[in-house]
Every structure is written in structure tokens, then in C-alpha cells.
């Protein structure tokens, strides 16, 4: 079947009931989305589906044929990180970093809808994602930082 991943049409060979997570990691070799629980409880697998954050671990690829999927890799690279990725690096918003990809995608979903979120809105938006190391304060700082950059870019007409 054909999936639209990070703007590219990708042909994948997978049973239709395969969760997107395993197609991303196994068929396409992408590392961002991760297995944390397979139950939609921790958010380590978070990706964007049509600009909204979703759990890739419980989404069978059968439903995704006409949808636009964005993973961490679609936001930028080590040489050219996107605003959220850059913010997470600047704020050193990681300890073990396993939750980081999911956090960035969840925040991306928020900032695409609303690049001026109030503090309470950021916290509510991030609620589905777990961090066990206790890096929450830095993650929030990184999201705020990225929001400011995105707003500035939007005002500058980029």
C-alpha cells in the first residue's frame, strides 16, 4: 500500500492491521516514533496525522491511505533542525531522551493549531505523553521557546 510520509509517497509491504509504528520503524527505517507501551498510554510513538498528534502504536495502516503522516524526521535533521528540535537541543530538554521524539511531535501538533498557547494549554496538550526521567520543566521551556520562534517567523512572513 501507499502511505504519505513526510511529504513523500512511500510504498510499504505490510498487512493492513499493522500499526503504523512498526511500518515506520521496520519498513521505512525511521527511528523517531518509538515503542513505549503499544497501548496509547505513553506517547513515545506520537506522530502527526493530518497535522494532529496521534499514537502510531494503535493506528492500523489500513486507515491511513489518504492521510498525511509526519514523523520527527519530517521536522528537520541534525544539520538543519526545525524550531522545536532546535529548542529541545538548546534547552537540553532530555535526560535519557526516549520520550523526546514523542514530546516534540505532540508539541508540533499543538503549535500547528495554535502558536500562542497559554501555559495551561501547553500542559493540557502534553498530558498524553509520559517522561519518566522528570525532564518536564525543560520540555515545557523548549515548547515555549519554539512557540516564540514560530510566532516570530510567522510575523516575518516566513
Amino acid at each position: 500500500m501507499i502511505l504519505n510520509i513526510n511529504g513523500q509517497q512511500q510504498t510499504v509491504d505490510a498487512d493492513p492491521d499493522t500499526p503504523l509504528l512498526y511500518v515506520l520503524r521496520g519498513e521505512l527505517g525511521l527511528n523517531g516514533a518509538k515503542y513505549g507501551c503499544g497501548l496509547g498510554q505513553c506517547g513515545a510513538c506520537t506522530v502527526l496525522v493530518d497535522n494532529r498528534a496521534a499514537f502510531s502504536c494503535i493506528t492500523p495502516v489500513a486507515v491511513l491511505a489518504d492521510k498525511r503522516i509526519v514523523t520527527l524526521e519530517g521536522l528537520g535533521s541534525a544539520d538543519n533542525p526545525g524550531p522545536l528540535q532546535h529548542a529541545f537541543i538548546e534547552e537540553q530538554a532530555a535526560q535519557c531522551g526516549y520520550c523526546t521524539a514523542g514530546m516534540i511531535m505532540r508539541a508540533e501538533g499543538l503549535l500547528r493549531r495554535n502558536n500562542q498557547p497559554a501555559e495551561a494549554e501547553i500542559r493540557a496538550a502534553m498530558q498524553p505523553n509520559l517522561c519518566r526521567c522528570g525532564t518536564h520543566m525543560r520540555i515545557l521551556r523548549a515548547v515555549r521557546r519554539a512557540a516564540a520562534v514560530i510566532r516570530k517567523n510567522a510575523e516575518a512572513g516566513q
Partner: protein, 421 residues
């Protein structure tokens, strides 16, 4: 012609005047907020348990707000009503209310100043409370932390924004009267009846309402809608494929889940959360009373799997649902076997649509079921196909009734929640 018009105007004025006259109550003088020491400790304790049974907390507390300080919106067919502050703050709460004013509100639906109260506050149930219970509830509420908090004005469409019309509504639908036990039944049953009909106000959600928003007298507990959820019938019309018993009802109320019936969801979850503070005996009494009204209700046979070729709904079910709902051991934390779910068997698809679209979000840090919502990854059409397949597969009388509309409503509701984040 003009003569007819004049008569009509005169009648309307008479009618309005009549209603205003009927609905007029004097103000009761404000008092100083009573000191905690003026209430016996035992009365406050009893009041706490009564408040848990009556679930005052849920309606009278805004999301993220102080307990009992009001401000929570209640969606009704007539518009939005905001719950009032029932903390003992004299300015914005009920701190200036005497016991008499409090009792009048519960029994007659009138506030301290003599204003009619909208029956969104279920005084049609609370009117049944004994004087002793009224006094204990008063003791409890008056000893909570006082919070200065106003609330937004109600957003009701014309003419429902005119309170005096409530007098007419009461004329048609309301009788202030205490509970009368049935001598043919034992004490436990009567206790259950008293609580269900009165304080626990189950019918406020579980009874269908007429066009003017009053509970339909002949259809007690036959199922009703509240805030976009469907509260199943808990009488002989119960859709539960495994029949409820007094034991299973008690367990459900006590713990918020039961193996054959699943987890309490939506507004019912708020009820069972609060019932943690209710005495065991009272929950058992409620269970006994409700069970007595269930009738025999045989288990619906699970129909043979549909012979149609695998539909997209089935693929969706296998890929997204089966793992949790078949292979992880069931409630309280894993999904219920959908053959046993009331939601798949209900007369409409409202709750199925809500749950599948919005999931059960992780909130608080307590042990509670978490279910991912699928509203983001499924389109409305995909959700409709899935629900249609579920209801056909697991058996419901009208598999296609209102599914698309229910899905649309659920998506609108979830979308609002997401936009608010």
C-alpha cells in the same frame, strides 16, 4: 380584529401576571455565615456522605476550579446554565443563607432572595429529602472553604431566560413533597428508593425528558441524554447483554467498574468517583432498589458473525481494537469484551461514538482506565463504518440508527476539547 388582539393581550398579561404571582416568594433574611463549631461533628460527617451520594461536587465545581465554587457549564436543550457557588462565601456563595433558605431551595426550587431556580438543579428529586438530611447537608456545605467566585451569566434562548416562567413549568411538572416509603417493602429497599428518587437523583440523567425538559413520569429510568452522553436505561429496558444484579450493581457503584459491564464512563465516571465517599450500606440499598426494577431481561444472544465479506469495519476492529478488547483480560484496565458492552447494545450509538472518538484520556495520577481516542486517525466515515460493524457483529436491534449523526456530534465535541487545549 382589534378586539380579539386586545383580548389576547389581556389574557397574556393575566397569564404572565398569574405566573409571576404564583412564582413569587419572599426573600429570606441573610444571616452571618455560621461558625463550624455551631454544627455537631457527626452532622458534618453525615453531610459529607450525603454530598457524595448527591454528587454536589461534580456540578458545582468548574474544571480546575475550587471545590463547590460553581462556574461549571451545563449544556441543556435550552442553552447553557452555569452552576452556582455553594461555598459559604456570603457574597458569591451561600454563606448568607439560613437553614430555612437552604431547605426552601432543595424543597421548592427557590433561592434565598426568592428567585426561581432552573430545574437543572434537580430539586424535583431533592424535594424528597428529610429535614434531618437537609440539616446535615447544610452543616457540610457551610463548613467548606469559602471561595469568592462569581460565575458567567446563563446563556439561555428566549423565552427561557425569564425565570418567572419556571412557575408555569412547576405547575405542570413539579410537586414539592417528601418521600413516602412503601410499607410492602423492607427497610433496605425503601432506603434505596429514598436515595435513588431523592438525593442520588439518578433519574435526572437516566429518565427521558419531554420537550419542556421535565422527566417523563411514566418512563422512570428508561434512559436519557445528558451533556452529549446517553445514560442507559436501568430498568427493564436495560440494554446490558449480561443482566445486572444487585451484586453487580453494587460493585459497579462501589468501584466504578465491573467485569461483565465495563467501566463507568463520561458523566457516570464522575458519579462513581464521588461515590467512593458514600457508605457501603447506602450503595447496597441503591443496588437492591434498582435491581428490583430490572425485570427478568434475558441475555441477548450474540448473533452469528455476519457472513458478509470482511468489511473495512472489521479490518479496523482487528487492527485497532481487538488487541485491547479481546486479549488483555478485561476491566478495569483493559477493554471490555464488546459482546458484553452496554454501549454496543444501546438503542443508539451515542456513547460508542463518544468513546471511540475521544477515548478515555489519562487524567490525574490515579489508577484509571486509559483508552486512546481514534477521532484523529479515523475520518467520520471510517468511524461510522466501524461502529456499524460493531453493532452488527455484537448485536443491536437497530444497527444503523443515527450512527453518522452520533459520530458527527462526538467529533464536534472532541474537536472543541482539542481546540481548547
Amino acid at each position: 380584529m382589534r378586539y380579539v388582539a386586545l383580548v389576547l393581550v389581556a389574557l397574556a398579561m393575566l397569564g404572565t401576571g398569574g405566573l409571576v404571582w404564583l412564582g413569587w416568594y419572599p426573600a429570606i433574611r441573610p444571616v452571618q455565615p455560621p461558625a463550624r463549631t455551631s454544627f455537631p461533628a457527626a452532622s458534618i460527617e453525615r453531610g459529607a456522605r450525603l454530598a457524595a451520594l448527591g454528587n454536589c461536587m461534580s456540578c458545582h465545581t468548574a474544571a480546575g476550579g475550587a471545590a463547590f465554587a460553581g462556574g461549571r457549564p451545563l449544556q441543556t436543550p435550552f442553552g447553557t446554565i452555569y452552576a452556582s457557588n455553594i461555598t459559604p462565601d456570603p457574597e458569591s456563595g451561600i454563606g448568607a443563607w439560613s437553614l430555612a433558605a437552604f431547605v426552601r431551595a432543595l424543597r421548592q426550587g427557590v433561592d434565598r432572595r426568592g428567585q426561581q431556580l432552573y430545574p437543572a438543579f434537580p430539586y424535583d428529586h431533592f424535594t424528597k429529602l428529610t429535614a434531618a438530611d437537609d440539616a446535615d447537608l447544610y452543616a457540610f456545605l457551610m463548613t467548606r472553604g469559602a471561595v469568592r467566585a462569581g460565575k458567567p451569566g446563563n446563556e439561555l434562548s428566549f423565552p427561557f431566560d425569564h425565570r418567572f416562567l419556571i412557575a408555569g413549568w412547576k405547575l405542570l411538572f413539579f410537586r414539592a413533597a417528601p418521600f413516602r416509603p412503601d410499607p410492602a417493602r423492607d427497610a433496605q429497599w425503601n432506603r434505596g428508593a429514598y436515595l435513588v428518587q431523592g438525593l442520588a437523583h439518578c433519574g435526572a440523567c437516566h429518565t427521558p425528558r419531554n420537550l419542556l425538559g421535565a422527566e417523563e413520569a411514566g418512563h422512570m429510568l428508561s434512559g436519557g441524554e445528558v451533556e452529549g452522553w446517553y445514560a442507559y436505561a436501568v430498568n427493564g429496558a436495560s440494554p446490558a447483554p449480561v443482566p445486572w444484579s444487585a451484586d453487580s450493581l453494587y460493585a459497579f457503584l462501589r468501584h466504578g467498574w465491573q467485569p461483565q459491564h465495563g467501566d463507568a464512563l463520561g458523566p457516570m465516571r464522575e458519579v462513581t468517583d464521588e461515590l467512593a465517599g458514600a457508605p457501603d450500606d447506602d450503595l447496597r440499598a441503591i443496588a437492591v432498589y434498582i435491581a428490583s426494577g430490572l425485570g427478568k431481561g434475558a441475555m441477548r444472544p450474540v448473533p452469528a458473525p455476519i457472513a458478509a465479506p470482511a468489511s473495512s469495519g472489521e479490518t479496523l476492529y482487528q487492527g485497532a481494537c481487538a488487541d485491547c478488547h479481546e486479549k488483555r483480560g478485561g476491566p478495569p484496565f483493559a477493554g471490555i469484551d464488546l459482546a458484553r458492552s452496554s454501549a454496543t447494545h444501546a438503542p443508539n450509538a451515542i456513547d460508542l461514538a463518544n468513546i471511540i472518538t475521544g477515548g478515555i484520556p489519562a487524567s490525574g495520577e490515579e489508577r484509571a482506565p486509559i483508552m486512546p481516542g481514534f477521532g484523529v486517525v479515523l475520518t467520520g466515515r471510517q468511524t461510522t463504518e466501524l461502529i456499524a460493524w460493531l453493532r452488527a457483529r455484537f448485536g443491536a436491534a437497530h444497527p444503523r440508527d443515527g450512527i453518522a449523526e452520533a459520530v458527527q456530534a462526538a467529533r464536534a465535541k472532541t474537536g472543541q476539547l482539542e481546540a481548547a487545549r
